[in-house]
Point group: D2
Chain length 245, copies 4
C-alpha cells in the first residue's frame, strides 16, 4: 500500500512552538508512525512543485492523508481537481483536523464544513459511538486528550455515512469527531484531533485511529462503473413493436 501524507507545512516554518513539537513537520510525525513493512509512506507538502502531487504520484497512491490550516487557498484548483477524481476512482482519503476547511474536503462534501472553535487548551474526550467499526479497533471506550483546540457543533457537513466518535469538550461543546463517507469508489475518513500547537499526533490512541483509518479507506478491487449511453440488456417491447411494423 502506498500512502502519501500531505501537509501544508507552514506553521512549522513560522511558529517555533510548532517547530519544537514537530521538528520533522506534522507530515513527518504522521509518516513515521504509519510506516510498516506493508505500508510504504511518503510525504508531500504545499511548497513542492504541484504541491508534491503530480499525476505520477497520485496515480500510484492508495491512500492520501491531508493536513492543512492556514494556506488552504494556496492549494491550486487543478491539483484539487486531480485529487477529487482520484478519490472518485477509489483512492482513500483521510482528512485531519483543520483540513475540514480544505478545498478538497469542501468539494467532496458539498457543504461549508464550518464549525465553532476555541483555542484555550482545554480537555477533549472522544467517545466511541460505533463499537462495530474497524476504525475503533484497539481502542478503549473513549480517548482523553488533555489539551486541544475545541471544535463545536453545528459542524456543517452532510449526514455522515458512519459516525464513529463524538467529542466532549470541557467548555461545554460536543462535536462529531470521526465520520466516514463514500464518494464514487472512494472512501473518506474525517478525524478531528490534531491542532498544531499540541503534541496530539504522538498520542498512542490517536495514532491507532489514524492507522486504522488509513487501512479502512484503502480501496479494493471493486467494480468500475461505466457511464453514458448504453444498449438494453433485455428486449424492449416497444422496439419489437416497431420491428413488427
Amino acid at each position: 500500500m502506498n500512502v502519501i501524507v500531505w501537509n501544508e507545512n507552514r506553521h512549522e516554518k513560522i511558529n517555533p512552538v510548532v517547530a519544537e513539537i514537530y521538528p520533522d513537520g506534522i507530515h513527518g510525525a504522521i509518516a513515521s508512525f504509519l510506516q510498516t513493512e506493508e505500508i510504504e509512506v511518503k510525504t508531500a507538502t504545499l511548497d513542492e512543485v504541484e504541491h508534491g502531487l503530480t499525476d505520477e504520484v497520485l496515480n500510484e497512491t492508495d491512500v492520501l492523508v491531508w493536513w492543512g490550516h492556514m494556506a488552504h487557498d494556496e492549494v491550486e484548483d487543478t491539483v484539487v481537481e486531480k485529487v477529487y477524481h482520484r478519490v472518485l476512482a477509489g483512492m482513500g482519503l483521510v482528512v485531519l483536523h483543520s483540513a475540514h476547511f480544505s478545498k478538497i474536503f469542501k468539494k467532496l462534501m458539498g457543504t461549508s464544513c464550518d464549525l465553532k472553535w476555541r483555542e484555550v487548551g482545554e480537555k477533549e474526550r472522544l467517545w466511541v459511538v460505533d463499537p462495530s467499526h474497524p476504525i475503533t479497533s484497539g481502542l478503549d471506550q473513549w480517548i482523553d486528550i488533555e489539551k486541544e483546540e475545541m471544535y463545536g457543533e453545528h459542524f456543517d457537513i452532510p449526514t455522515p455515512d458512519q459516525l464513529l466518535f463524538i467529542s466532549w469538550f470541557e467548555g461545554g461543546e460536543v462535536f462529531r469527531s470521526g465520520a466516514t463517507y463514500q464518494r464514487g469508489k472512494g472512501k473518506i475518513f474525517y478525524f478531528r484531533p490534531g491542532h498544531e500547537t499540541y503534541p496530539t499526533y504522538y498520542h498512542k490512541e490517536i495514532q491507532t485511529v489514524i492507522k486504522n483509518g488509513v487501512n479502512w479507506v484503502r480501496g479494493d478491487n471493486t467494480p468500475t462503473p461505466e457511464y453514458g449511453n448504453v444498449d438494453p440488456l433485455e428486449t424492449i417491447s416497444k422496439n419489437k413493436t416497431k420491428e413488427i411494423d
Copy 2:
C-alpha cells in the same frame, strides 16, 4: 409559500416535439399543477437576466424546483453560488430528471452525478421503498410510466439520507429514482422522471410526488447555527489554573 420553477427552456424552443407536449414550457406545466391557494408559484428561465434568479427573487423563495439538460454550462457560476448559499440557509430544492448534471446539484453532492442512460421510450416502474415517508403520500405501491428515458446504476451520488423510490426499466436496469439529502439548513429532493419528449409531467402520480416533494423540502423555523470563534459555556480548569498563577 413561494415556489420558483426554474427551467432552461431550450428544448421547447428548438424541438417541435417538446414544444407540442409542453406549449408553456416544462416550467409552465409544473407551475400549473403546483399552484394552490397556499402556494404562490412563479417561473424563471435561463435566458432571463441572472437566469431570473436575482437576489431579490432568491431571498423570497422558499422552494426552488430545477429542470435543466442541454445548457447546464450556460448557468453562471455566480448564480449557482447564490443558490448554493440559499440552500445551506434553508431554501428547499427539488431537482428533476436531467438536472442530476446541473452545476448546483453536483456542487451540493460532491460527486460526478453520472449515470447510464438510453432513450428508446421504454417502460419505467417506480417502486416505493420507504412507505413511511410523506413524499409517498397519496401513492400506490408503485408508479408506471409507459415511455420514459432510462437512467441506470451506478448513479454516482453520495449515499442518500433517505431512499424513497427505485425504478425498474424494461431494458434490464434499476435506478435510485427518489432520494433526499440535507445540506446545512436545506433539504433536497432528487426525482428522476421527466424526459422532455414524453408527457411525464402530466402524469397524476408524478405530479403528486413533486407536490409532496415541494412541501417536504420547505424549510421550517429551525435554528441558524453560528460559526467561528466562541467563548466557553463552562469554566475551563486550565484557565482557572492560569488565573490562580
Copy 3:
C-alpha cells in the same frame, strides 16, 4: 390527530418528590402542553385494563407517546405486540427518556438499548446537530437543562436514520439524545430528557421538541405494501417458452 400519552405512573404514586413535581402524573403534564384545537390528547397508564391500550383505542391513535421506567416488565407482551403492529402500520411513536428500556422500543430497535447512567442532578446541554429537521423548529442552537440524570455512550441502538441532538453532560459524557427511525409505515422519535425527579417536562424548549416530535411522527396517507405471493407484472420469457411447449 389523536394522541395517547402513555405513562407507567408508578413513581408518582410512591415517591412524594415525583408526586409534587407532577401532581397529575408525567402523562398529565405532557398531555396538557400537547393539547390544541387540532390535537385531541388522551392518556393511558399501566394499571388500567390492557394498560389503557385496547384495540379500539390503538386503532384510533395517530401518535403514541411512551414514558416508562421501573415497571417495563409489567407491560404485557400481548399489548407490546399490538403496539408493534400499529407502528409498522403507520402509528407514530415518541419514546421518552427511560423508555429506552421499554419492551416496545427494544423490540423495534433489535438491540439491547443499554447505556451508562448517573443520577446526581448535573447539567445537560443538548446541541442541535441537524438544523434542517422540522423537530428542531423553534429552537435555538442548544437547550440547557440545569439538572438532569446523565445518560452516556455507548448507547446500544442501531445507527439512527436521523441524528438530531447530542447531549453534553457536566460529568464528562456525551449522548445521542434525539434520534429518528422508520419501521414499516411508522416513524419513531426517541428523545432523552425527562427524569422523574426533575421538572424537565415544564421546560419550554423540551415541550417544543416533544410537540414537534408528535407532529413529525404522525403518519400520512402513504402506500400500504402488500406482501406474499404475486403474479408477474411483465411477461416472463421462460413461461412463454413453457407455453410454446
Copy 4:
C-alpha cells in the same frame, strides 16, 4: 477465523430436486467454497442437539452464516437468544435468502421482514449500487442469475446502514438485495439470492459476494462498552455546592 454455516437442511431431505442440486446440503456447498487456509469452516443444522449451536460452538465462532426457509419456527428461542447476544458482542452474521424470515434476523431488525415473492424461475440481475464497498470486490457492475425466485419490494426492513445491491427481476419488480447493518459490536450482511431449487450457490460471483461478506462482518478488536451506573469523569459543580453546604 472460525465460520459456522448453519442450514435447516430440510428441503434437501424431502425434495429430490434440492437433494440432487445440493447432495451435501446447502450448508455443504457453502462451506466448501468458504474453506481456505485462513478460514476454518464448520457446519451446523437444525436437527442437531441445540441445532448444533452450543455455547461452546458459539463462543468460538467469528462468523455465522444462516440459511433457513420452511422450519423457522422450529428454531428454539433459547438458541435465538444466544445467537442474538453473540451478535451484539461482535460475532458477524451473514443472512441468506429466505432467512429474511428467520427468528434471529427479525429480532435483530425489529420489523416484519416481509416481502413479495414468486417462484417461476425468472431472471435476476443484481446491480452494484455502492462500488466503494469491500463486499463488491472482484465483481463486475452487475451479476446475472438465469433462474431465481423473485423477491420484490416493499421489503419491510429498517433503512440499511449500507445498500450494496439492487435486483432487477424479469417480472417487473426490484429488491434491495444486499444490505448491511450494525447491531452492538456486531455486523450483519443480508444477501438475497439462493433459492433451494436452483444451483445459485455454485455461481462464481455469488460465491465471491458471500466470501466477501464473511470477511466483512468479521469482528475486530473493537471496544466493549460498559453499561450501567457510572461515576463522573469530571467534577460536578452541583455536588461541590452540596459539599460546601
